[in-house]
Symmetry: C2
Subunit: 136 residues, 2 copies
DNA sequence: CAAGACAGTGCAACTCGATTGCAAAGTTTA
DNA sequence: TAAACTTTGCAATCGAGTTGCACTGTCTTG
């Protein structure tokens, strides 16, 4: 597991206590988390502090956000080497049973043929269904 | 252009005044609309009436909703013959310049190879960038 | 054609995730 | 050290979405 401190240093974000705790917590996860879930997992930490740290993290490309259709934005730590460019985009999977949202890091988004003169700069691709744990 | 009355009859939704006006308005559009935009375009109509009509339309598969990441759900009339099954899913395009959200009806979502034992039942695929009008 | 049952509508209130203003606390700079 | 700047905590606010409720319109049945 990569160390929070190293990631902050690498991306040029000042390592405050809040940021270190938050990033460490995010690094432990196997799924993308909502702000609410972070609040619950980090009881001593204030919501707006978490919120603003997330904004910083996103700005400096430590994390990316996912809009899975639940109404709550989810966040996940970027993979090593990710620069949040087009080639780093990947599918996300939302399990309608356990309600977890996963990064399918091994499923990059293929190039999509768009109508003439349309230009892609970003994407939010969410597949919904049952995850392996729930599809039994 | 298909007629609102016919569509309601075909899908088995009672043709009330609100529903006819709303569906006619939606049929005129070349982009997906938010509830707010419908409120503005149909000044005499109440927000919650529009909202509940949209819910009915969606339930009876006259329209589908799109989560384009703007925080406002967009709605678009389904293509003729659409049953809102997996094979009817298509990409959507959100233009970050003009802020229009388009249905790319001619761009069905290809089958995606998922991790072992994951099962897809739905998807929300939004490509972001510049539309042909804005990419100049 | 009533009378009652049922579905649809309009208005106002409310929910809840996201965001912001502001003052206090912490950090950096000169 | 003092001023300048950044971060944090708390409370307030925003806004899309949703709901309760009374009223109205439509349908069903005797
Ligand atoms: Mn991801
Ligand atoms: Mn569409
Ligand atoms: Zn699951
Ligand atoms: Zn555009």
């Amino acid at each position: 597991m990569r160390k929070a401190e190293d990631i902050l240093a690498l991306k040029g974000v000042k390592p405050t206590a809040v940021r270190l705790n938050l990033l460490e917590f995010l690094l432990e996860q196997d799924k993308a988390l909502s702000l609410k879930e972070m609040e619950i997992g980090l009881l001593h930490m204030d919501r707006s502090s978490i919120f603003r740290s997330l904004k910083s993290f996103e700005e400096y490309k430590l994390i990316h956000s996912i809009n899975d259709g639940t109404g709550m934005t989810k966040y996940a730590v970027c993979a090593e080497g990710c620069n949040c460019e087009l080639e780093d985009l990947h599918y996300h999977f939302y399990c309608t049973s356990c309600e977890k949202t996963f990064c399918l890091m091994d499923h990059p988004i293929p190039s999509i043929i768009l109508p003439k003169n349309f230009k892609m700069t970003d994407a939010n691709m969410v597949i919904k269904g049952l995850c392996d744990q729930c599809n039994k």
